[in-house]
Amino acid sequence: MFNYILRRLLVSIPILIGITVIVFFIASQMPGDAVLAMISTDTPQAEDLVKLRRGQLGLDLPIYEQYGRWVGQLLHGNLGFSFQSGESVISVIAARLPATLELMGVALIIAIILGVFLGVVSALKQYSWLDYSFTFFGFAGISIPDFFLGMVLVYVFSIELGLLPSSGISTAGNAFSLSDNLRHLILPAFALGLARTASFMRYTRASVLEVMNNDYVRTARAKGLGERLVTTRHILRNALIPVVTVIGITLPTLFGGAVIIEVIFQWAGIGLMFINAVTGRDSPVIMGYVLLSAVIVLASNLITDIMYSVLDPRIRYD
């Protein structure tokens, strides 16, 4: 097992390098650059000033040299400085990561709890009106883009009903309070979570249905176990293994989905930071985000594989 993890980690290194090379070169092909993006579109800027700023930021170097500089900094544990604000990229990300993790975590919990619960009910009551209506909402949930859901939630709950704030992480300028923070979290977390709820629900339903027809479930019933025990111990335990994989593959999409939800709700996480960096052609910040998301994707794949062997003793990596 240890060997397996080590091998996977080693393989990750060239993958990460590949990802950063590709992104760095694609990003450098975006029209315009940080200097031009920072100055007003309404006025042309003196040539020498643009040149000066480019020189200061290292944008006048050939692209491979810029990449070399970035890797050099990375090896020193430094991700460079934001072109836009001058802050170090590590502190830019560190200041915003907790907000994204909070949003993703709560959205994931909403998706798992609701999705598994609805999926189990749906499977146990297969072909009932409950099953049909859950299936209907499931498909609707998969089909509705989360940004649209987010805008609908803002319209209904903040603008029309005035129950919840429309954007932000907390009331600006107030001392941080958990209840205030949670009030701001409800809408974005549901917008992000509900779309994933649907897929959890469909996976759980399918998986439970499959397990229900297994011999060992029939045996459990035959030996006189109560229906509740059969459901929780024999069906659910086995049915949830594939669902764990879904959690693993959901993490990267959740990370991507958070970008859009963060923009709609002005949730000051790294997704919002990333969009601002792309608009501002702030390549040190873009690269920091890309590196982080690549690590998260690779890590969540690895963790999924490890979880497999923990949950299902038949799976072994050697």
Partner: protein
């Protein structure tokens, strides 16, 4: 799970939800001291870099940092701030600034002539790479400093602790009103020891921007907000509001939502106002005051690239404007937001009274094109970079009107970051552009034609002479004839295909007294400059 446990869970859940929902949106009232007297403004993202490098963060230079004198919100003259008075013994070649006595930085250190000398030098220092350096191009020694032949500005000297002398290369009667107003004063005791090339990375800008203004920097939470507290010792009197909060937004729809729900009181105007499609909705919100017709001081026009010979004949350019029913576009696509323009300057005093109005006349347009020998089979590359729906629809309408008279444009949408490239290399034939004109005709993006990038090789020596003449006097009555003549030339020549002046609708919460009143008195919105808006008098009702 037993049913009792189930119900306990359900009850707890409901209770938590109910508590959260029942709290008012601005739960500030109970939690933060002085929240009743807090003004919340929207602030655009990406504008934190400080006044040396960003053009969109200048609202902070009205509350935290300040200049020697700022332009008045009414557009008439300037307000003395850190300078108490100034004079010129030689009609505008040398300027003597008397600094206001007893002004202290927010950290208690006195503001002195050393800070002024330091600030002017910092703006021009090539290692700092400030985008505002060209504002000081008239100061003696500017070029030597830029070229590395000197290490400071020869023309800026300290006379005594509260007097600074600034020498210019030539007579500039309007230097204070037009150039100096861009420059914010920086604290030498905090920034003087930082290497100029590393100045932008200093935590000063985000952690503790010490200034002299009516509000003190207390907190910055990345991408969320900047919090300022009242400066009780402010030299123009203790501000009425206790706190000022700038909430940072990355897009306009979120600003509209936050205004509707009362999360903010004042919107930002950099990067856009109330979208045309939202004006009606915002006007129905009872807590808001909407100013739908604020002049943005922004002429929108058809840009011609004069490198292309087929655009050089003025008749062709005139024909294009005759061909477009501008009133109809404003009334329908733009829902009334816009004022017809027939020249560059929005300020009435700078416009000739006898401008050709170019009323919609497709027959005349066809005749002019025919006379000028226009080839109707030609496809014209046409760039634009405003990607919102209203502007896209406007370009479509323009395309249809032009096609009707035989001018076939092929619109191409550019990313805003690409536009500077297009400005520079001129890879386009025509474009749908807008350029800030500011309050004064000589504050605009174009103040000379021959050789100016934005003129795209168009050159009119008379216009350039008139611009210079307009700067040689300080009284508006004496300056007006020069600008009026320019406006007439630009109108007849259709140097650009003048369409309309943009308006930028804004909305304010009625909870705060001050912002709506001041903005409604602005002749046009003032971009890219700190404005003296009497912020110290703004208050929460």
């Amino acid at each position: 799970m037993s049913s009792r446990r189930k119900s306990i869970f359900a009850m707890t859940g409901t209770a938590i939800l109910a508590t959260l929902l029942s709290m008012p949106i601005t739960s500030s009232a109970q939690t933060a001291p002085g929240a009743e007297s807090t003004i919340r403004q929207a602030f655009r993202t990406g504008c934190m870099a400080g006044p040396l490098w960003t053009t969109c963060g200048r609202r902070l230079d009205e509350t935290v940092l300040q200049g020697l004198a700022h332009v008045n919100w009414t557009g008439n003259g300037v307000k003395a701030l850190l300078a108490e008075s100034w004079s010129s013994p030689d009609k505008g070649k040398t300027w003597i600034f008397k600094l206001r006595n007893g002004v202290k930085w927010h950290d208690g250190k006195p503001f002195t002539a050393d800070d002024v000398v330091f600030s002017f030098n910092t703006y021009v220092d090539p290692a700092v790479a400030s985008i505002y350096a060209p504002k000081l191009v008239d100061v003696k020694g500017y070029q030597d400093f830029r070229d590395g032949k000197a290490t400071s500005l020869a023309g800026v000297t300290k006379v005594d602790a509260s007097t600074v002398k600034i020498e210019l290369v030539d007579v500039r009667p309007l230097w204070v009103e037009l150039q100096q107003i861009s420059i914010s004063m920086l604290p030498k005791h905090l920034l003087g020891s930082i290497k100029p090339s590393e100045l932008q990375q200093s935590p000063y800008w985000t952690q503790a921007r010490v200034g002299t203004g009516p509000f003190k920097w207390t907190k910055y939470v990345p991408d969320q907000f900047i919090e300022l507290a009242r400066n009780d010792d402010y030299f123009l009197g203790k501000p009425k509001a206790e706190r000022m909060i700038y909430r940072i937004f990355a897009d306009i729809p979120s600003i509209m939502n936050a205004l509707s729900t009362g999360e903010i009181d004042v919107m930002s105007y950099e990067g856009g106002g109330v979208p045309v499609s939202d004006i009606e909705r915002m006007q129905k919100v009872p807590t808001l005051t909407v100013l739908p017709n604020l002049d943005a001081g922004l002429p929108t026009y058809l840009q011609f690239n004069f490198n292309h010979t087929h655009l050089k004949d003025a008749r062709i350019r005139q024909a294009m404007v005759y061909a477009i029913d501008r009133d109809k576009i404003i009334a329908s696509v733009k829902k009334g937001t816009g004022k017809i323009s027939n020249t560059m300057f929005p300020a009435a005093w700078a416009q000739s009274p006898s401008l050709n109005p170019y009323k919609y006349d497709p027959a005349k347009a066809k005749q002019l094109l025919k006379d000028a020998g226009w080839d109707a089979s030609r496809k014209v590359d046409f760039i634009y970079y405003y990607a919102d729906q209203v502007n896209k629809d406007t370009v479509t309408a323009i395309q249809a009107y032009l096609a009707a008279v035989g001018v076939n444009i092929v619109p191409r949408l550019l990313n805003p970051a690409e536009i500077q490239v297009a400005y520079k290399d001129g890879t386009f034939e025509m474009g749908y552009f807008a350029n800030g004109q500011g309050l004064d005709p000589s504050l605009g993006a174009l103040t000379t034609t021959c050789g100016a990038q934005l003129a795209f090789t168009w050159c009119n020596k008379r216009v350039d002479e008139l611009y210079n003449a307009g700067l040689s006097e300080s009284a508006r009555e004496k300056r007006a004839p020069s600008y009026q003549e320019i406006s007439k030339i630009l109108n007849e020549e259709m140097f650009r295909g003048w369409l309309w002046y943009e308006v930028r609708p804004m909305a304010f919460s009625k909870r705060v007294v001050g912002p709506a009143e001041h903005y409604s008195q602005m002749p046009n919105l003032i971009f890219d400059l700190p404005v003296y808006n009497e912020v110290e008098k703004w208050e929460v009702k």
